[in-house]
Assembly symmetry: C2
Homo-oligomer: 235 residues x 2
């Protein structure tokens, strides 16, 4: 099973086996995902077509089409304020089962956990096992934890949501629908995001959303969010 980054393209971006990136996609691949010349990645058209490709200068060289039945037709990144204890293990496991493409742990104002580098290996191992058990074609990438503001400001995904239990925000389900482009969904640590963090995220184009009328734990919220997004792309 390969552990490849994923990117969503418009069908018009594929021309004679070459992928022509937008400046945002270029930035995402090279700066955020740190993909290097010749490294492989997955391109998806958001309508069920998948290609194996490699980075070739400022373009992508398509290597072969892929047949994928258990993967979502969309790239979903979970940006998560690290919960305390071993809660993140459960998040990685469940969200992998639900089809997440990438998990980016963030250190926010209320994050208590500052994980050791060994933790990242552990999480990647959990993701690999969960991907196999759930019969996925690809293993999600677990990125190294970064500061909340950096994560928010370097995000170029088409659809950006921030889950926030308090406040009068629309329900996630009213906004997600079967569109193309990347989705980033952010969920907070115990105690949620601070007001300042919600403001920073809103200024960076994140739409605050709620996940229902009850207060969910930091470990439950990402699983619920992924359940709703996955279902909206599979029904």
């Amino acid at each position: 099973m390969s552990q490849l980054q994923r990117i969503t393209i418009q069908p018009s971006q594929l021309q004679e086996n070459l992928l022509l990136f937008t400046p945002q996609q270029q930035h995402y691949l090279v700066r955020v995902l740190r993909l290097r010349e010749g490294e492989k990645f997955i391109a998806m058209d958001g309508q069920g077509k998948w290609w194996l490709a490699e980075l070739a200068g400022e373009k992508g060289q398509v290597l072969e089409p892929l047949e994928v039945k258990t993967e979502l037709p969309v790239a979903i990144t979970l940006m998560i304020g690290l919960p305390k204890g071993n809660g993140f293990d459960d998040v990685v496991r469940c969200c992998t089962e639900l089809g997440v493409g990438c998990i980016l742990p963030v250190l926010s104002d209320r994050t208590l956990l500052h994980p050791s580098p060994q933790k990242l290996e552990r999480w990647q191992r959990i993701a690999t096992e969960a991907a196999e058990q759930s019969e996925r074609a690809f293993v999600p990438t677990i990125l190294e934890p970064v500061a909340f503001t950096n994560a928010i400001n370097s995000c170029s995904a088409t659809h950006r949501y921030l889950c926030e239990a308090r406040g009068d925000y629309p329900h996630l389900n009213t906004l997600i629908n079967n569109t193309s482009g990347e989705i980033v969904i952010a969920t907070g640590p115990e105690g949620g995001w601070t007001e300042g963090e919600v403001n920073i995220a809103q200024a960076a184009g994140f739409q605050p959303v709620n996940l229902g009328r009850r207060i969910l734990r930091a470990v439950t919220a990402p699983i619920v969010a992924l359940s709703l997004i996955s279902a909206s792309f599979e029904v």
Copy 2:
């Protein structure tokens, strides 16, 4: 916080502060929930109105209307093939956060765990803590484990679903919608339901459904199912 059973009624069943039950509701209250004369319960009209009531002979005596913002307008029972280890603790915790009304553990062909009576107390304590933390108005009821066939055949809920990962069944999200009546959703233990169990459930009026194209663990499936049902009643 009160720990009361819930039942959904049609508005026409409430006449001058008396609730007139259908034979199925009578059976559910007295045989399944084992409610006794004078014991309190909650009646909901499925449209957001709630009443505190008590059993009075073959009827219900309405005591007072209730104001409830964090409860779902529908009674959801999770029927679950007990997962192994401590997995059921997580299920009770997360499904309580998601608004479940009642959890009925069942002993199925592939159930490995045969819990001690102390376990029931432990689960009820977890449900109580999770209900408080998630700011619910009521604590879900955890019933004593029963045999799969008994649970299936004594079920009189309006909407009955059985989650089954293999086989060509519709996605749960295509079937649930904001209707009145009770919902029962059944999820299997590790390894899922046997073919015989799926047949028994179908014969008893359960609709097999899937929860997406990946294989979910026994602990993840009920959380995903509850996420989808809750969202469909809150959007």
